[in-house]
């Protein structure tokens, strides 16, 4: 399967805003553009085939995520931790959703709003600088909520899901995509057992909270969500980071000394390699959890009987 260059390359747009955008690592976005795919999605892609390119897998991830959420034209969508806006643009462009993203990064929000303006999507896509704990949208406002690769930066998932439940319509769908760790490792952490590796990872990413899967699900259920589906996508993340690492190494000459210093570049090499090993050995996991806000006392909607609506076949479906 070959990549189809149907989308504008957001890496090009980034160059216009180069000075304005920064990542949570305070590194220039050109650095991230040096290894991410065209959508600048800094999270797990989705492979229908081991030979998928990163660009193909990035598109697959956006599509399967949209499919699980059952996005429809006119849906009011919230993306918690929208990054550079890959999913909210996709939802608006492909499905006609009214997309709102929140981020704690002023630079990322500025970038999203700038790109929305450039694409003529200012009325369809917008990003706000709001911390997830401070979300203040009207009750039962959104049809769908998604959070992709952001729960790792949230220390209070109970609060996040409580606030999400408030602003989601009854029977509305939420998709939580994020990393977890096995319970045995989590238990060590809860018991105060630390490791050099986990300390280094937290230092590298600034902040990090890796719950076990059941803790995430417990917080969802306690906040009136019914789990509809869980998919372990750990292998997909391993393949994703392998592609990132390849691109990072291929782009060394374009990045080192021009965009970042060599030590930071080599630090990223090690952490990417470490994540690959972490996924391969099962110390780090990645999941997509699809859930529905329960409308207590009301008739449960007649949901599909099979999983066809939430799987992506290896055949080209998009």
């Amino acid at each position: 399967m070959k990549a189809e260059p149907t989308q504008p390359d957001m890496r090009d747009l980034i160059n216009f805003q180069a000075e304005a955008i920064s990542s949570h690592y305070d590194l220039p976005p050109q650095f991230f553009a040096g290894f991410l795919g065209p959508r600048m999605a800094y999270s797990c892609a989705y492979f229908t085939d081991e030979n998928n390119t990163l660009d193909e897998a990035e598109e697959n991830k956006l599509f399967i995520t949209a499919k699980k959420l059952g996005l429809q034209e006119g849906d009011l969508l919230l993306d918690i931790g929208c990054g550079w806006g890959s999913f909210i643009f996709y939802a608006a462009e492909k499905f006609g959703c009214q997309s709102t993203g929140i981020t704690v990064s002023e630079e990322q929000a500025a970038f999203v709003n700038y790109v929305a303006y450039e694409k003529g999507l200012a009325g369809k896509v917008r990003a706000e600088v709001v911390h997830v704990y401070d979300m203040d949208f009207p009750a039962r406002y959104f049809d769908k909520i998604v959070t992709i690769g952001a729960i790792e930066h949230m220390d209070n998932l109970h609060l996040v899901f409580a606030k999400s439940a408030e602003i989601l319509k009854d029977d509305g769908l939420m998709l939580v995509h994020g990393m977890t760790k096995p319970w045995v490792d989590r238990l060590d952490e809860l018991n105060g057992v630390t490791s050099e590796v986990s300390d280094l990872v937290k230092e590298h990413f600034g902040v990090g909270y890796w719950n076990s899967l059941w803790e995430v699900m417990e917080d969802l259920e306690k906040n009136n969500f019914e789990i509809l589906d869980h998919e372990n996508i750990t292998r997909h993340y391993q393949l994703t980071v392998e592609r990132w690492l390849e691109r990072l190494q291929e782009n060394e000459v374009n990045l080192v000394g021009k965009v970042i210093d060599e030590e930071k570049y080599r630090e990223f090499l090690v952490f990417m390699a470490g994540y690959i090993v972490g996924f391969e050995t099962g110390h780090t996991l990645c999941n997509q959890i699809l859930c529905r806000k329960i409308n207590r006392g009301e008739i449960r909607p007649a949901l599909p009987l099979t999983r066809e609506n939430i799987v992506l076949s290896s055949r080209k479906e998009r």
Binding site: E196, L245, E262, E263, L269, V270, A273, V277, E280
Partner: protein, 119 residues
């Protein structure tokens, strides 16, 4: 105080001993690696960390990845047993790696076993 292990002693004696005692460590890596240590008592070792693990002097098999360092730097890291120090050494290019980088990181279990067994 434990005497610092020399690189040649590590790869000629200690690594084969650990692999014989704990072959599971090799299966976790499941690859052939090259170790190139430059300086006095240095050399090149091929570590076959697959189903029939073993260590040989020289480049006897095609490695999936190769770790290169000066003997003194490598010995100091092993004596310290610190992953943070290893990261800093890599960032400052005192440890070099070619080939499949994740495989190099899998040496952690083997090297930490050496550190523990010699403390």
């Amino acid at each position: 105080m434990q005497e610092r292990l020399t690189a040649s002693h590590i790869f000629d004696y200690e690594v084969p001993r650990v692999l014989a005692e704990q072959p599971k460590i090799a299966r976790r890596v499941n690859a052939v690696l090259g170790i190139e240590l430059i300086g006095e008592n240095g050399g090149y070792w091929t570590l076959d960390l697959t189903d029939n693990p073993g260590v040989e002097r020289g480049r006897t098999k095609e490695p999936k990845c190769t770790l290169s360092a000066h003997v003194e730097d490598f010995e100091a890291l092993l004596a310290g047993g610190s992953i943070r120090a290893a990261l800093e050494a890599f960032k400052k290019k005192r440890i070099q790696a070619t080939g499949h980088l994740p495989t190099i990181l899998k040496l952690e279990h083997l090297l930490m076993s050496l550190v523990k067994s010699n403390r």
